[in-house]
């Protein structure tokens, strides 16, 4: 259990992340997709009972981080503990037990395309509980009502818009009343009204049932408006960590550029590449 210099329970960056046992504790995480090193020694704590935002430019590995936390991917080195259990040392059965306490909202929704909206939301209930069908119906309708889509319960996912599909997926993710929800880009593709509803829904779900939420996003203002804590990651490292207010007030030049969306600064809009002129004049 030795965690090097940081020690058990100590927060990874500064003192701004709250004390107390975190729900997710990441130490020394290294992970690469093929040649591409996405995380190079990342330490990260997700406190219990709050909304934690993980932000960063596109392609930094936010989705990958969620997959690592939920045990779908295996780190090259480092540990990820969820509620004290090392996710990547669990056997299949124990991992599945842990996942029953996690809900995940996929970036694409990932609804089962051959089932209706209703059956999609009912799926985890039917798989993991022995509730009578009448009870399942009530639960599903309540979850669909919460995301405002009770009206489309009989439709197939293919007939929904991307934003609607994401909301159905949210209803499915919370169907089993998990302890923790991982949101991958919940806001993209939502119109301003449903965006507002969704933002308050995430906050509301979190407070009403004592959930822990991780929101991965690059919608800075919406995410920070509901987040208790925030991390900004880029280039395989944690760039900034702290409460939402602290992060918003960060003085780091890089963080300022990201938060304010400035084109010029230490961060690059372009993926690493050789000089443009050389590329253009190079071999035809």
């Amino acid at each position: 259990m030795a965690e090097g210099l940081t020690g058990r329970g100590a927060s990874p960056v500064g003192a701004s992340v709250p004390p107390g046992e975190p729900l997710v504790r990441i130490r020394g995480l290294r992970f690469a997709h093929g040649e591409r090193l996405l995380f190079d020694g990342v330490d990260l704590d997700i406190p219990r009972g709050g909304v934690t935002a993980v932000m960063g430019p596109s392609g930094t590995g936010k989705t990958t981080l969620l997959k690592l936390i939920s045990g779908q991917l295996r780190p090259a080195s480092g540990t990820i503990e969820v509620d004290g259990q090392d996710v990547h040392r669990l056997g299949r059965a124990a991992l599945y037990r842990l996942r029953m306490r996690m809900g995940m909202l996929f970036q694409s929704g990932a609804l089962l395309t051959d089932l209706s909206v209703f059956d999609n939301v009912a799926y985890p209930l039917r798989e993991h509980t022995r509730l009578p069908e009448a009870m399942i119906r009530k639960l599903v309708l309540m979850k669909l009502e919460a995301v405002g889509l009770r009206g489309v319960q009989a439709q197939l996912p293919a007939t929904l818009s991307g934003g609607m599909a994401r909301r159905v997926a949210l209803a499915r993710a919370v169907a089993l009343d998990p302890d923790m929800i991982l949101y991958d880009e919940p806001f993209t593709g939502q119109d301003p009204i449903s965006m507002g509803v969704l933002v308050s829904l995430i906050r509301h779900l979190n407070d009403a049932s004592g959930l822990t939420s991780i929101v991965v996003s690059h919608d800075v203002s919406e995410t920070l408006s509901i987040a208790d804590y925030a991390y900004i990651i880029a280039d395989g490292r944690v760039m900034e960590a702290g409460t939402a207010a602290e992060v918003r007030a960060s003085r780091s030049e890089w963080v300022r550029q990201f938060l304010d969306g400035l084109p010029d600064g230490p961060a690059h809009f372009h993926a690493p590449a050789p000089d443009l002129m050389r590329d253009l004049l190079g071999e035809a």
Partner: protein, 259 residues
């Protein structure tokens, strides 16, 4: 200099690794047997998708193959004055070889490619990951019912193919070319052995059913989750299935009918 050698080695190792993955998948599929048994509904849906939807093409092909056998067999056999042995020839070729093999090739093209595309697309659209996240094993819940659906449907389809083919041969030989109907059946009954011919044919088609669905499911499950990856998986399913079926047919024939 050593580059070609290294490349050869690399592709050899990659092929072995894939073969290993395929066998792990097979173990997973067999491990899902109980889950499928307690959810017969999932199995029924797959027998529908693989079996019922392939019935038409299999029956029509069987009829034509039987009629062609009737024609060709008649011309060859009548040169030896043995036209009344037509029934034996038609039935033996169908039951031993053409029934299981052609049915397997048809199912690979009709249902195997569809299976690979379906699983590959479920992977590409993260549906398999979503199931994983709902603590549901996609191999047990999605792949295994398809596996047993194929295993169950194949011998039944092959039997339909052979039966319709025998009738097609009868239609040509007896109906059109004027052979004696009694001779057609009695010669067939005298020479076609239940355990040697029919049971072996069924065993063949069960093996082919296993191989074709296994290949299709593996190609879908291991597909690169992109449009191109899925299309490659469907193509590979058909090519690999055809090669596997024909190769295995040779081995099985040598084992079963080589005295």
């Amino acid at each position: 200099m050593l580059d070609p050698l290294a490349r050869l080695g690399r592709s050899g190792i990659a092929a072995l690794a894939r073969l290993g993955e395929a066998h792990l998948l097979l173990v997973g599929l067999l491990g899902g047997t109980w889950d499928t048994l307690v959810r017969p509904r999932l199995l029924i849906a797959q027998v529908y998708g693989i079996g019922v939807l392939s019935t038409l093409i299999v029956v029509v092909s069987g009829l034509f193959v039987g009629m062609v056998l009737g024609l060709q067999g008649y011309y060859v056999l009548s040169q030896f004055g043995a036209a009344e042995s037509l029934g034996i020839m038609v039935a033996a070729s169908l039951v031993r070889e053409l029934g299981p093999v052609v049915t397997a090739l048809l199912v690979a093209g009709r249902a195997g490619s569809a299976l690979a595309a379906e699983i590959g697309l479920m992977k590409a659209t993260e549906q398999l990951s979503a199931l994983e996240m709902m603590a549901v094993d996609p191999i047990k819940r999605i792949l295994t019912p398809r596996f047993y659906g194929g295993l169950l449907a194949m011998p039944l389809l092959a039997a339909m193919f052979s039966a319709v083919g025998v009738l097609g041969g009868y239609f040509i030989g007896v109906g059109l070319l004027g052979l004696d109907g009694g001779a057609y059946w009695s010669q067939m009954q005298a020479k076609i052995d239940f355990s040697d011919d029919i049971v072996n044919g069924v065993i063949k088609s069960v093996v082919f059913g296993l191989v074709v669905t296994w290949i299709a499911l593996f190609q879908g499950y291991a597909a690169t989750p992109t449009a191109e990856g899925v299309s490659r998986a469907t193509t590979r399913t058909v090519v690999h299935s055809a090669l596997a079926v024909l190769g295995l047919d040779f081995v099985l024939t040598a084992l079963m009918f080589g005295e």
